[in-house]
Structure formats: structure tokens, C-alpha cells
Symmetry: C2
Subunit: 158 residues, 2 copies
């Protein structure tokens, strides 16, 4: 992707209000082994998760997925796993399986239950048009995961 | 690991008798895009799955897992997924998630059910001491997967 940070057009107060975005900030900061982000605001830490439609169209899906984008996708699904864990008390594990061409799987499970399973494509272009959309999609996946745990409690405990 | 083929000490007739090993041969041959194995016997195709204890101890777990070993691990779990699929009629998906250090997860699922989930370690040394042990371990995982599907039918259909 780009190494420069985006300037999201939306107001950024949502980062302080959304439980999911707060979790996502934690996940990204957990990867910050050299303390680069230590002085950054939460909004700046999440800035690269926001990719405008126009910008997306300029990102080639021909090449490999770069490591920064891979890590961003992993952080996104880890934040979902962690949010589900906090709300249900079930230990969740997240795994991303990517081919070099940007296709693959995102998987979250607990016990014997697949809590979230999504096919990924064009991962090179991973990102959401705004913080609001990012938060909404994260929360949607968290809620669908929780619903699955409620629906299949035996497998979740298995 | 090595690019030379092993000479397994066991008699090789088991490859013709074991349903699991036959499935494994199919999976390996499916990866043979250049027809290198076309003239090889099934025993030779599986030869690198047999790694003696002595040989294992000589393989370093310091470096990255080489692509041939990764593919071998993937073929092993795909053969398990495919065997479960044939016996239960449930579509199974296999994913291997490996860190460069040789640690990771092997996952097989159907519907919302984790059919097989195993942590992997020292994948650089992946292999079994004989064709018999390879077949036995494969069959054990196939049977435990089938048992899981029987135990959690709702999640498997989910």
C-alpha cells in the first residue's frame, strides 16, 4: 500500500466512541515493537485502515500483498476475535490464510465452532471508506460471531 | 526438506492398501504442475513424508520452513479433509497457518464446525518414521474428524 498516512475526511471522534475501534487501536499498538506509534493519536494509528474508493482503484491487485497490509488485515480480525472474547468469555483464535495473489480466508474460532469465516479477495485494497464504515463492519462481524456462539453453544464449548 | 528422495526402510505395499495414503498420493500429484512425478511410483511420490528420527535430529529448526515442506504439510491435511469429505459427504476446507519459525495451525472445517484443529511446531522436521506411521496418523485424524461431525451435526450443517 502507501506508506504515507491518509487524511480521513470524517470527524474522528468516533474512534473514542466505538468499542471496536478502541480494540483495533490496541491490536495495532500491540504490533508496534519499536514504539513508533507511541506518540501518535489513536486516529493516526488507524488512519491506514481508511482507504477511499478512488484510492482503492489506484492500488494494483496484480502483485503480492505487502506485509503492512497483511498485518492490518490480521489486526482487524484479531480485534474482532478479542471483542467477541470480551463479550462472551470464550477464548477466540484468529487466523489469516493468504495466497500471494491477495485471495484467502479469515477465520475465527472457539472450541470446535467457527465463529467467523470469510473469504478474502483483492486484499491489496483492504480498507474502508471511513472510520464509521470500519467500525460498522467490525461490529457487524462481532455481532454475527456472538450470535453463532449463542446458536451453537455445544460446539463452542467442544 | 532434502531434495533427494528418502529410501524408506519399510515394505511399501501399504501405499496400495491404505485408503489414506492413496488419497495423499492424489493430493501430491495434484500439485505436480510440470509432470515431474508422472513416471514415479506412488511410493516414490510419498517418500519425502517418511523422515527417520535420526534424520529429523539433523534438520535445523532455526531457519524458515522451506516451501517444499510447507506444501507437504498442506497436502497431508488436504488428504485428511478429502478423506473426511468422502466418508461424510460434507465439504471440508483445509488451511495451514505457519509462522516463519515453524509454528502454526492446521485447520479443517465444514459448515460452522472445526473438524480438525492442531497446533504445529518444528514444522521443518515434518514427517513420520514409516509409511505405516504416516497412514496411522492420517487415519487417526480422519476418524477423529468424522467423530466430531457426528457429535456436532448442527454446527457441521451450519
Amino acid at each position: 500500500m502507501t506508506t504515507t498516512t491518509n487524511t480521513p475526511e470524517t470527524t474522528t471522534s468516533i474512534v473514542k466512541e466505538s468499542a471496536f475501534l478502541k480494540e483495533l487501536v490496541l491490536q495495532v499498538r500491540a504490533q508496534d515493537h519499536y514504539g513508533v506509534y507511541r506518540s501518535w493519536s489513536d486516529e493516526l494509528v488507524l488512519a491506514n485502515f481508511v482507504v477511499s474508493k478512488e484510492k482503492k482503484s489506484k492500488i494494483s491487485v496484480e502483485g503480492d500483498v505487502d506485509p503492512a497490509t497483511q498485518l492490518r488485515v490480521l489486526c482487524f480480525y484479531r480485534a474482532i476475535a478479542s471483542s467477541i472474547e470480551k463479550q462472551t468469555g470464550k477464548l477466540c483464535q484468529a487466523v489469516i490464510d493468504l495466497s500471494h495473489e491477495g485471495f484467502g480466508w479469515a477465520i475465527i474460532w472457539t472450541g470446535r465452532l467457527m465463529v467467523v469465516s470469510r473469504t478474502l479477495r483483492d486484499v491489496q485494497r483492504f480498507g474502508y471508506p471511513s472510520f464509521e464504515k470500519l467500525a460498522a463492519q467490525g461490529e457487524r462481524l462481532v455481532n454475527s460471531g456472538i450470535k453463532n456462539i449463542e446458536q451453537y453453544p455445544k460446539a463452542a464449548d467442544g
